[in-house]
């Protein structure tokens, strides 16, 4: 079961939020740009976690939703000339609509079939955008505006204000998705991921839950796309390419799939590493790939999984010390059944 206000989860989320807000105030221009990128990826990774971490719909086409959100916003504002206040909800709705369609089309696909189907749908979007003249093809589209929030006293052309806003939106998305995942809906999604047959046996049809989750995930990913378009004021078909979706999945897995805060942490870590590594080598992809292999190899629990293990270990140590002081009790024994809980990436292994 997913608990939103789990102490460790809350600590990590608050630490990320405070670090983000502090960095937005004190960082230099380049740092704020990186921070805004982290926030965008964090939102995209959290929306992917809603699918991959709970009902175990490991999507390799998440860029489709992000790309649709970004392009819908850009087309509506730049090409159609609509105001951002109209384009924004429209773009999020476009992401949701794409999620609904993909959810319906893949409702029967499982495991690797799901990977292949989403991979293909994402790539379909890529080819479509690249081949279309109106959308700028390979060159993408420039000029997506940031909304005018001067009525609220906010100047979004200021990089500090914009980064602060994005970090706040990421925090809101975290709270919203967290509330949802802690509810009965979230419990059902998790149960579907653990054992779909048992869910069916309980008389619950998993299909509508999966479609609903994909729609919602599409909406949030669409939001990430809108923010990405506003951030760089430019959209590129690369958002749709399957390697972009693969990168989003890597962030989610590196951070800790199924923990919601982990993917946000993973997004921040990967974006930071990308800039750090790119400073001295152009082969950043090599590291990204090796990180993924390493993360999967070591059990697929990601950074959050390590923090959880650390917490369990420190609790064990504390417990053992307490017993010693209480008067020579037996050493603490960790409980290890043949099927202990292991929130890794392997399907159906969570207990």
């Amino acid at each position: 079961m997913f608990r939103l206000f789990d102490p460790l989860r809350t600590t990590v989320a608050l630490a990320l939020l405070i670090a983000g807000l502090w960095w937005a105030r004190t960082g230099d221009y380049f740092g704020r740009e990186i921070l805004a990128e982290m926030a965008v990826f964090a939102i995209a990774a959290m929306s992917l976690d809603l699918l991959a971490g709970f009902p175990r719909l490991v999507s390799m086409g998440h860029g489709l939703f992000v790309g649709i959100g970004a392009y819908a916003y850009t087309v509506a504002t730049v090409l159609a000339g609509w105001p951002p206040a109209v384009a924004f909800p429209l773009a999020v709705a476009a992401g949701a609509g794409a999620g609904l369609l993909v959810g319906l089309a893949t409702v029967r696909a499982r495991d690797i079939f799901y990977i292949m189907a989403t991979l293909a749908f994402g790539q379909m979007g890529y080819v479509w955008v690249v081949r279309s003249g109106e959308l700028g093809g390979d060159d993408g589209l420039a000029g997506a505006p940031r909304p005018d929030l001067s009525a609220l006293g906010l100047d979004l052309s200021d990089s500090a204000t914009f980064a602060t806003l994005l970090v706040s939106v990421a925090a809101l998305v975290y709270l919203l998705l967290g509330r949802l995942l802690a509810s009965g809906f979230g419990r059902t999604l998790l149960a579907i991921g653990q054992n779909e047959r048992r869910v069916r046996a309980l008389g619950i049809a998993p299909g509508p839950y999966k479609v609903a989750a994909t729609t919602l995930s599409g909406a949030v990913a669409g939001l990430a796309g809108v923010l990405a378009a506003m951030h760089s004021m430019y959209v590129s078909p690369e958002l749709f390419h399957w390697t972009w979706s693969g990168e989003a999945l890597i962030m989610t897995i590196l951070g800790g799939i199924g923990s919601l805060v982990g993917p946000a942490l993973g997004a921040a870590a990967v974006v930071w590493l990308k800039y750090a590594v790119s400073a001295w080598t152009e082969h950043w992809g090599l590291f990204l790939g090796l990180f993924l292999i390493l993360a999967v190899w070591t059990g697929g629990q990601g950074l959050y999984g390590y923090l959880e293990r650390l917490r369990r270990w420190s609790a064990t140590v504390r417990d053992a010390r307490g017993r010693e002081h209480a008067g020579g009790d037996r050493a603490h024994q960790a409980v290890r059944g043949p099927h202990r809980h292991r929130p890794g990436v392997a399907p159906g292994d969570a207990g």
Partner: protein, 288 residues
């Protein structure tokens, strides 16, 4: 539009289909055996092209490249399988699949480091460099060679699967791996062999494709998607499925570009979406 024009398109479609067939057949059999999809399959295709390019430079012989590159790539695949994928057996297939996604990223960078960023020229062997006159139509000899090679591979694979004891073992293990192992089949070893064999075939396709498309690091990332579409449309684990899927994707893509240029590239995905909706198991799945 003359008859010769359409005949040329037909041969183009056939040539692309044969390339896709050689690429997808290994992938689909491995998938049928273990429910495992190697996302780095395209990476081995690109690697085959690069290794072939180097062998061509060293030996000066296209044929040495054609034979040597698959062997080198199979050895690399075997090594990667043993140090990485086999050790992740307990983590489940999904974890193994994600590890191959990591290999995609690593592979591109390693190839960039060794062979650079730019497209490399790879010329067809002198014997096949010219054109052939065929029913009043002039067609590049090399492309005819690709079609012939694909057909030979098809016949050999059919004989292997349908007429040998090893083939019966593979079909049995694809049908029902647990029952096959209860009769004494070492399914894990069979899987390993097919994995390496599939990668060798991908490398062969890479060398064969190189004179047509030239050689660049991203070529594997590009070819993966059509290959996966072939596997899904054809149905998993069967030779017939690989043949049918390759022909469908090859023809739909080639004629889609000719007949519906405004939708070029998309038609193949429409084919996939249609398959997923109407026949999610594909046309000829091994396990009905």
């Amino acid at each position: 539009m003359t008859t010769a024009y359409w005949l040329t398109q037909l041969l183009n479609a056939l040539q692309y289909s044969m390339l896709l067939f050689v690429l997808s057949v290994g992938l689909t059999v491995v998938f049928g055996l273990m429910n495992f999809v190697n996302l780095a399959h395209g990476t081995f295709y690109a690697l085959g092209a690069f290794v072939g390019w180097s062998l061509l430079r060293i030996t000066g012989s296209f044929w040495a490249a054609l034979v040597g590159a698959p062997l080198v790539v199979a050895a690399i695949a075997a090594l990667l399988y043993l140090v990485m994928i086999a050790r992740m057996q307990r983590a489940g297939h999904l974890a193994q699949v994600l590890a191959t996604l990591g290999l995609v990223f690593v592979g591109v960078e390693v190839m960039r480091m060794i062979w650079g960023d730019f497209a490399l020229e790879f010329s067809a062997p002198p014997a096949l460099a010219g054109s052939v006159s065929l029913f009043g139509l002039v067609y590049p000899a090399y492309r005819l060679f690709v079609i012939a090679l694909g057909l030979v591979a098809l016949v050999l694979l059919w004989l292997l699967l349908e007429r040998t004891a090893l083939g019966a073992m593979i079909r049995a293990a694809v049908d029902n791996a647990a029952m096959a192992s209860a009769l004494g089949v070492r399914v894990d070893r069979l899987f390993f062999a097919m994995f390496c064999f599939g990668c060798a075939l991908a490398a062969l396709a890479g060398v064969v494709a190189a004179p047509i498309f030239s050689v660049y690091p991203g070529m594997g990332i590009e070819i993966l998607i059509p290959t996966l579409i072939v596997v899904v449309v054809g149905g998993l684990g069967s030779l017939r499925g690989a043949v049918a899927g390759s022909l469908l994707v090859g023809f739909v893509d080639t004629f889609g570009q000719v007949l519906l240029p405004q939708l070029s590239g998309i038609v193949v995905y429409a084919l996939l979406a249609l398959t997923l909706l109407l026949r999610p198991q594909g046309l000829f799945p091994a396990r009905a």
